[in-house]
Structures are given as structure tokens and as C-alpha cells.
């Protein structure tokens, strides 16, 4: 029963804590953050990205960033466990999925932060109270092995991978492997109907958890093409070896997976956390930590090398207003996936 009390107690306590008295001015915020000394961040963002961000943040504000890199599910486990046990340690939580933030915000587990920087983000990518904000996006695209797929047969549209020549030679995401796989399944179903999955499932694709495995399957030639993988996978393979037999296609609509962040309602260092969020959301932070790492910034005017201008393309995103429907369908669509693909 301890945990029950803890959860209920937390919500009651957090409701009060989540309302800011009045925004501090930039200099006051910096001074308060310096007094707190550091900011603790848990997240699934690559450590190399966070190291760059941490170095730039410390150089600018004199506050250290202590980052623990772990998968999304572990980040959530740790965040919730700390709150339940009344041992808060984390200040900022960053994960590669929007859905948990919507839940966290409803339960007052996140601090409202009305950052001026957030105003530069589209409304569908931020909470109205500033409890969370989408700080980076990754497009789901398609790659193919240029040694196995003749140039004239290279897939360009989503429907191209349904051709019989790809029987058993497509690497597809397993819907049960996390947010990326589910987004792809949901997006294709919304755009093309269940028939898309019926036909793709009939081709007996190789299933993968994690986008890296799909990339390696195509690079090695075990799969001729991969669908629904994050766009940086193909770009990174070419960055590692420019001669790699990898072709990249950007079929439309392009599903966009998001990386969001928010401040814990019980953050032990709330001022350092706010200063850090402001920095990451700023033009400078986005250049260092998002565009520089190959991801896509939701801020206008920041182009990522190798990524087409998404403003000129049709995209598919799940806004927070659509999140309930998106999540409610998950169990049913997972059942459907197992019928069509397994």
C-alpha cells in the first residue's frame, strides 16, 4: 500500500508545485541556477549529443549537466520510481516518445515552465502550460541497398515496397519494439488503410526492434530495403562510409517521430532545469544539440544537412490533441499487427 499512498501524495503535492509564482528574469534565473550548481538529466538522447549540449551550456551559464543515458522505458521507470519513493533526483526528463509526457502532464508530474523560447515552436509540439516541449524530430523514411536494387526499380513511394520483388527482403519495424514502430504502423494505416499492412505482411518482411538493426540488414544486403526507420540511420551509414551501398528515399507523407523533454514537478534544481530547457530550446541549443546531431529542429529556419525541407513536404505527426486516440488504438492495432505480420 506504500506505493499507492506515495502516488496519491505525489499528485496532491505536485499540483501545487507545478504552478510558477512568477517568471524569473534571465539574469535572476542564471544566478539561481548557478547557486544550484548542476542540472540532472535522464534521457534516451545519444550521449554524444548530450555531451555537446552539456559543454556548450556550461560554457555559457557555468552550470554543469549530469546526464544519464538510458532507453526510454528505463528513463520512465526511474523517473516514476524516484517520485513514488519520494527520492527525487532528476530535473529534466528527455525521451523519444510524446505519449508519456501527455500522461505525465495530466497527472501534474511535470513543472509548468512558460519559456519565451517555447513560443518559437508550433503549438502542436508544446504543452500550453509549458510542461513539455518537442525539442527534436526524426523523420521515418526508407533506405535500400543500391547493389541489390537497380536504380530504375528503387522505391520512391511507400507503395513501392509492396511489389512482389521485395518478398522476404524488406526490413520493417516490429510494432512492439517501441514508439517508432507503432508510429509507422499507425501512420501507414491512417494514410493508406489496413490494406497496406495486409499486403506488406503478406511479403513476410524481416521484423526488427530498433532502427539500427534495420540499417545493418540493408547495409549487409540481407534485406533489400527497410521502411519506417529513423532518417539518421541511413545518413549515419553514409557518414561512416561514403561508399556504403545505401540509397535513401523520402516517401510522403513523412511520419515524424518526436523527442520531447520536460521538467520534473519535484525537480531538486528547478532553476537550473529551466535554464537548461531554455538553452536547448534556443536557436543556439538547437544548432548544437539537434541540427548538429542530425535530427530535425521544430524551430523554423534551421536546416539539417541531408534532410529535405520538410516545410515543402507532406508530413504526418501526432499532435497532443490526437494522442488519446493514438494510444487508445494501440492494443487493438498490436493485435491486428500480430495477425497480419506473424
Amino acid at each position: 500500500m506504500t506505493s499507492r499512498r506515495a502516488v496519491l501524495g505525489l499528485m496532491a503535492g505536485a499540483a501545487g508545485a507545478a504552478v510558477l509564482p512568477a517568471p524569473l528574469r534571465a539574469q535572476e534565473l542564471q544566478a539561481a541556477a548557478r547557486r544550484e550548481g548542476r542540472v540532472v538529466v535522464y534521457g534516451s538522447w545519444p550521449a554524444a549529443v548530450m555531451n555537446r549540449l552539456g559543454t556548450a551550456f556550461r560554457a555559457k551559464h557555468g552550470v554543469a549537466v549530469e546526464f544519464t543515458n538510458m532507453p526510454t522505458s528505463q528513463t520512465v521507470q526511474r523517473f516514476v520510481a524516484e517520485l513514488e519513493a519520494n527520492q527525487p533526483n532528476v530535473d529534466v526528463v528527455q525521451i523519444s516518445d510524446l505519449a508519456p509526457y501527455v500522461d505525465f502532464a495530466r497527472r501534474n508530474l511535470l513543472l509548468a515552465h512558460r519559456s519565451a523560447e517555447y513560443a518559437a515552436y508550433p503549438e502542436r509540439f508544446r504543452d500550453s502550460d509549458g510542461r513539455w516541449v518537442v525539442l527534436a524530430m526524426n523523420a521515418e523514411n526508407m533506405i535500400y541497398n543500391t547493389e541489390q536494387v537497380p536504380r530504375e526499380r528503387a522505391p520512391k513511394d511507400w507503395a513501392d515496397v509492396l511489389r512482389p520483388e521485395f518478398q522476404g527482403r524488406i526490413a520493417a519495424p516490429d510494432i512492439r519494439g517501441g514508439g517508432t514502430g507503432y508510429l509507422f504502423y499507425y501512420a501507414m494505416r491512417e494514410i493508406f488503410g489496413v490494406d497496406f499492412h495486409r499486403r506488406l505482411g503478406a511479403l513476410r518482411p524481416q521484423l526488427h526492434v530498433g532502427t539500427a538493426g534495420q540499417g545493418q540488414a540493408v547495409l549487409s544486403g540481407e534485406a533489400a530495403a527497410a521502411v519506417g526507420l529513423l532518417h539518421y540511420t541511413g545518413l549515419d551509414l553514409l557518414k561512416q562510409d561514403a561508399r556504403a551501398p545505401i540509397g535513401i528515399a523520402w516517401p510522403e507523407p513523412i511520419p515524424l517521430a518526436v523527442r520531447a523533454a520536460g521538467i520534473s514537478a519535484r525537480a531538486p534544481r528547478p532553476n537550473a532545469a529551466k535554464l537548461f530547457m531554455d538553452f536547448v530550446a534556443s536557436d543556439e541549443g538547437q544548432r548544437v544539440g539537434v541540427v548538429g546531431a542530425g535530427s530535425i529542429s521544430p524551430r523554423a529556419g534551421l536546416a539539417t544537412p541531408g534532410v529535405p525541407d520538410l516545410a515543402a513536404r507532406r508530413t504526418f505527426t501526432i499532435g497532443h490533441d490526437q494522442m488519446d486516440r493514438y494510444l487508445q488504438q494501440q492494443a487493438e492495432l498490436t493485435r491486428e499487427f500480430t495477425q497480419l505480420y506473424l
Binding site: A85, D103, Q206, V209, A217, S220, G221, L327
Partner: protein
């Protein structure tokens, strides 16, 4: 006196097999400590299985109804696949591990010392990387072995004949991964036992094979069963191999289903906890089966008299057997390691060997990609060595209670000590986190939580090894020491420890190597102040940089092989000298 294998042992008499301290309170205290160490985190897993959701207060039996009601058919399918995978892998590990141990410990086959190290090779790889290496060798379309076999067998087409993405493929890779658990346990037992009985058998006219099946193997039955039990239970919970090889082929086991349940949102941690309890039940059942199989029989084969190693001279068969054995080792162990080396030195992975792609860039760029490389290796080395040492010491103490006192308390100690082994690391880590983030013992955020997690997770490996080794020890040895006036600690250090050293060093090496690769607990419980190998692995994996990942695996493997090899070699020489004296 030596009692022959398989005879009924008299029940332990008071004072006949003295405990460290004779007081009755010692085992009860030990049981209480074990309960805290193991049952307390398990309580949080059971609690998790009853929660409405990770964010909702309140309890429900709904997850049990889902697993054993509406999803029963799927649960049974998962369980059957898990049993098939773990059972198949264990059978292969038993066959290969026992065979290799016999070749090394009982024959004059050429190159035996190196052979032992080669067979440890696949074990040094993380299961996930092991799976990835085998995809390079035996994936249906681009596998190097398939590219060789197709023309050799006159097969047309572009796929097969081997398919690593299948249940037989998974069993193959898992079997190789589990082989050291059986091999080290059996080899240690073979080195420890008194060869008089085998010699007597041969002098009575029994052939070498008959001596093997009627004398040698029955004598080392505890070691074989102990190794097999560990292999089976570990095989049930293993994630990396079925994730890489099973999911592409749509073959799911309990561990991959548990991962799936925890990965998405809403995270079905509760569903994962219920599935994990199935694995827990299976491991309890397996321990019970092993206890039943060994029964009350005595396997005492190390006596107060000195002995030397028995060896079968292969004669004219020495070289043919040696060449055959090395060929098998080449396919089983050298090829996946060669695939790893190629991946580490190639600018990208290819189906065929491409000298033009060879480069040292993956190694050169590692410190830049992963600034925590050196601290992580150093911390893992320290934590793994310390944890393995603590486990071995604790396991010897626990093993003595379990074997020398055959009462309810000792049975409970044995059963409780084995509980964590069957649970997938990612779920047990959730229990450990919940246990040590709140009073009475808050270790969260300190390096001690990793130490206690490692000790808890690997206590079963130590206890299996210590009970297998101690089972072979004649209580008369200690009795003699006691009559000579030696205290309990002196008897353990001077009499028991030297005789069980091979088995316990083997266990130390197993635990050390496994901890150097441990992922789930390290990632969930670690802190940035103490980076460990798991942090590096996860970072490289998320970057999708398999070349850098392979380079890191090569460095880590060399480190593990160096330390484990040194310890085993040092222990082996000391033991040989002790036996000779």
C-alpha cells in the same frame, strides 16, 4: 574413506560435519540476510504485477487474468518456445561442454590449454553481439557460410541452406553461449576428483568408454547437473539472442515479449512482471528437479588422501582426434570471433571478405565517439572483480550450510539463493530499483547499488558452483582438521579452499566475464559518476555504429580473456601443486 558414487549417505550427524560456528542461529541469520537480498526486490516485482499501471494507484488481478485467461494461448506459445530454446541450448551446451571438458581434463589431446580458452571465446561476447556475428556467418541471403555451402552442395537460388533466423539457429547460438557454464563446471570437477576409481575400473579390464560412462560421468553428476541447471535457467531469461535472431523470423519467447511489454507506452511493466513470474516459477521447478535427481546420494570423491590426475592416452588417435576437435572449435568458436574482428576492422559490414574495406578507424574514433570509454572499462573491471569475489566467498559459506545441514532452513537457503537466476535482468532490475530507492536501505544514486545488484544477480552461479564442488568433499577432511585443533576459519582456508579452488575459480571467471557485459541492471541503476561498459554499449547501439560497437567488443573481450585466463591459469597451477603435494 572414499564412498563410491551413488551410494546412500548417512544423514548428517551433529558435529560430524561442523559448520563455521556450530550455533543454530547462523543458518537462520543467513536465511534472513538472503531473504532481504533476494526476496525483498522480488516482492516489488510481485507488487508490480498487481498494480493497475505504472502511474495508477491501486491493485488488480487484471494482468494475471490477461496472461492466464484471455491471452492464454499466446502465453502457452511463448512458454513452449522458451522451453524449446532453453532446453535445446542446454542440450547442446551439455554435449559440447562435457565433451570438451573430458578432452581437456582426461586426454593428451594436442593444444589442450589453448583449446580451453578458445571454447570460452563465444562466452566473452555479449549475447546480442554474438547474435549479430552469427548473422554475418549464417543469415540465409548474405551469410558467408551459405555463400560457401551453396556451390559446394550444388544448390541453386540465393538463400540458404543455413538460416540463423530460426529456432534451430537460436538454439545453436545459445548453446554455444551456454557451453562454458557446463564446460567450466565439469572440467573443474574432473580436475578435483580422485582418479583411483577410474584406474581401478581400467585395471579391472573395462574399456575407456565404459569407464567413462560407468565411473567418471556418475562421479561428476553434480557438476554436470549444476552446470545444466544454470545453463537452462539462464537460457530461459536471455534476451539478446532471441531479439536479434528470433524477432526477424517472428519467433518470440518470454524475454522478448517482456521487452516488448516494457518498451512502448503505456508501458506494460505489470504485464512484464507477470510474465517474469512464470520464468521464476520455472526456475524454482528446475532447482527442485535437480535436487530430486541428486537425492540423498553422496558424490564424495575428494578424500583426505592425495591424488593425481588420471589421463587417457589417445595413442594413434591423438592427432586425428586433435585435428577433428580443432576443426569443430574452428566452426563453433573461431568463426564468430573472426566475424567480430572483421566487423571491428572493416569500414562497413559486408557479406564477403573485402580487404579494401579494412581500416583501424573504428578503434581510433572510439574515444571521440565515447568519451567515457576508459572510465567505463576501469569501473566495470573493478566492480566485476569485486562482485565476483564477494559472490564466491558468500557462495562457499552458503554451500556449506546447504550441504552439511540437511534441514528445512538449508533447503530454503538453496531455493532462495537460486531465485534471481531465472528472471530477465530488465525485470529484476526494476525490483532492485524499487527496493533500494526507499528506506530501510537507500543505495540509489551510489555505486554500492550496482555492487549489491551484481552480487544478488550472480549469487546463484556461485552457489551452484560451491555446492557442486563441496558435494565432492569428504567431511572427514574437516573432521581431521578439527581433531588437530584447527579453528573453523583455518579449516576453511587451509583445507576446504585449496580443494574446491578449481570449481570456485571457474565460477569467479564466469561471474566476472558476465558482469563485464551486464546491461539491464547497470543501465537502470548506474549513475553518470560511475560509467560502466553497459553505458558505452547502449550509446554505441543507439548511434547504430556497429563498427565502433565491434571495436569496443574486441577491446572488452581481450580484457576479459586476459583477466579470466590469468586467474584460471594461476589457480590451475596452484591446485596442481597442492594436489601433488
Amino acid at each position: 574413506m572414499t564412498r563410491s558414487a551413488g551410494t546412500q549417505a548417512p544423514r548428517a550427524r551433529a558435529g560430524a560435519a561442523p559448520w563455521l560456528a556450530e550455533g543454530e542461529w547462523v543458518p537462520v541469520l543467513v536465511l534472513a540476510a538472503l531473504c532481504f537480498l533476494i526476496l525483498y526486490p522480488l516482492y516489488w516485482i510481485v507488487e508490480g504485477s498487481l498494480r493497475v499501471s505504472i502511474l495508477d494507484a491501486g491493485y488488480t488481478l487484471g494482468w494475471y487474468r490477461k496472461v492466464f485467461g484471455e491471452d492464454l494461448a499466446a502465453t502457452l506459445r511463448l512458454f513452449a518456445n522458451t522451453l524449446l530454446l532453453a532446453g535445446g541450448g542446454t542440450a547442446m551446451a551439455l554435449l559440447v561442454g562435457t565433451g570438451v571438458a573430458l578432452l581437456i581434463a582426461r586426454t593428451d589431446m594436442p593444444g589442450r590449454s589453448l583449446y580451453q580458452l578458445v571454447f570460452m571465446g563465444p562466452f566473452f561476447l555479449t549475447p546480442m553481439i554474438s547474435g549479430v556475428c552469427w548473422t554475418l556467418l549464417a543469415s540465409p541471403r548474405i551469410g558467408i557460410l551459405n555463400a560457401w555451402l551453396r556451390p559446394l552442395l550444388g544448390l541453386s537460388g540465393t538463400t540458404g541452406p543455413l538460416d540463423i533466423y530460426s529456432m534451430p539457429g537460436m538454439i545453436w547460438v545459445l548453446g554455444l553461449y551456454l557451453t562454458p557454464y557446463v564446460f567450466l563446471s565439469v572440467a573443474a570437477a574432473l580436475r578435483s576428483i580422485d582418479p583411483t576409481l577410474e584406474e581401478a575400473s581400467r585395471m579391472s579390464g573395462c574399456s575407456a568408454p565404459r569407464t567413462l560412462f560407468t565411473v567418471t560421468l556418475p562421479m561428476i553428476k553434480p557438476a554436470i547437473l549444476g552446470g545444466a541447471l544454470l545453463a537452462f535457467v539462464l537460457g530461459m531469461g536471455i534476451f539478446g539472442i532471441p531479439a536479434i535472431l528470433g524477432i526477424p523470423a517472428r519467433t518470440y519467447v518470454l524475454s522478448t515479449a517482456i521487452y516488448g511489454a516494457m518498451a512502448g507506452w503505456p508501458a506494460n511493466r505489470e504485464y512484464a512482471c507477470v510474465l517474469s513470474l512464470i520464468l521464476l516459477g520455472a526456475s524454482v521447478f528446475a532447482v527442485g528437479l535437480q535436487r530430486r535427481a541428486l537425492g540423498g546420494r553422496s558424490f564424495t570423491t575428494i578424500t583426505a588422501r592425495g591424488s593425481r590426475q588420471a589421463q587417457v592416452e589417445l595413442g594413434a588417435w591423438r592427432w586425428p582426434i586433435g585435428i577433428g576437435a580443432w576443426l569443430i572449435a574452428g566452426v563453433l568458436c573461431v568463426m564468430p570471433l573472426a566475424a567480430l574482428l572483421y566487423a571491428a576492422f572493416a569500414s562497413r559490414w559486408t557479406a564477403s571478405f573485402r580487404p579494401d574495406l579494412l581500416t583501424g578507424r573504428n578503434f581510433a574514433r572510439l574515444p571521440e565517439i565515447e568519451p567515457n570509454l576508459i572510465p567505463a572499462l576501469r569501473n566495470s573491471l573493478f566492480l566485476a572483480a569485486l562482485s565476483a569475489t564477494l559472490v564466491v566467498v558468500l557462495a562457499v559459506l552458503l554451500g556449506r550450510i546447504i550441504l552439511r545441514r540437511r534441514d528445512v532452513v538449508s533447503r530454503l537457503i538453496e531455493q532462495v539463493a537460486m531465485l534471481p537466476v531465472g528472471l530477465p535482468g530488465m525485470v529484476f532490475a526494476v525490483g532492485l530499483l524499487a527496493a533500494y530507492i526507499r528506506p530501510p536501505l537507500i543505495l540509489y544514486g551510489t555505486p554500492y547499488i550496482l555492487l549489491i545488484a551484481y552480487v544478488t544477480l550472480f549469487l546463484p552461479v556461485g552457489v551452484r558452483a560451491s555446492t557442486a564442488s563441496l558435494r565432492q568433499l569428504d567431511p572427514a577432511l574437516e573432521e581431521a582438521g578439527r581433531m588437530s585443533g584447527a579453528g573453523a576459519l583455518r579449516r576453511i582456508l587451509d583445507l576446504v579452499a585449496p580443494l574446491i579452488r578449481p570449481g570456485m575459480l571457474a565460477a569467479w571467471a564466469l561471474i566476472f566475464v558476465t558482469l563485464m557485459k551486464e546491461f539491464s541492471s547497470s543501465v537502470l541503476l548506474g549513475s553518470p559518476a560511475v560509467p560502466v561498459n553497459a553505458t558505452v554499449l547502449w550509446n554505441l547501439w543507439t548511434l547504430g555504429n556497429y563498427g565502433a560497437l565491434a571495436a569496443f567488443e574486441v577491446i572488452n573481450t581481450a580484457l576479459m580473456a586476459g583477466v579470466a585466463g590469468l586467474v584460471l591459469a594461476f589457480g590451475g597451477r596452484r591446485h596442481a601443486r597442492a594436489r601433488a603435494a
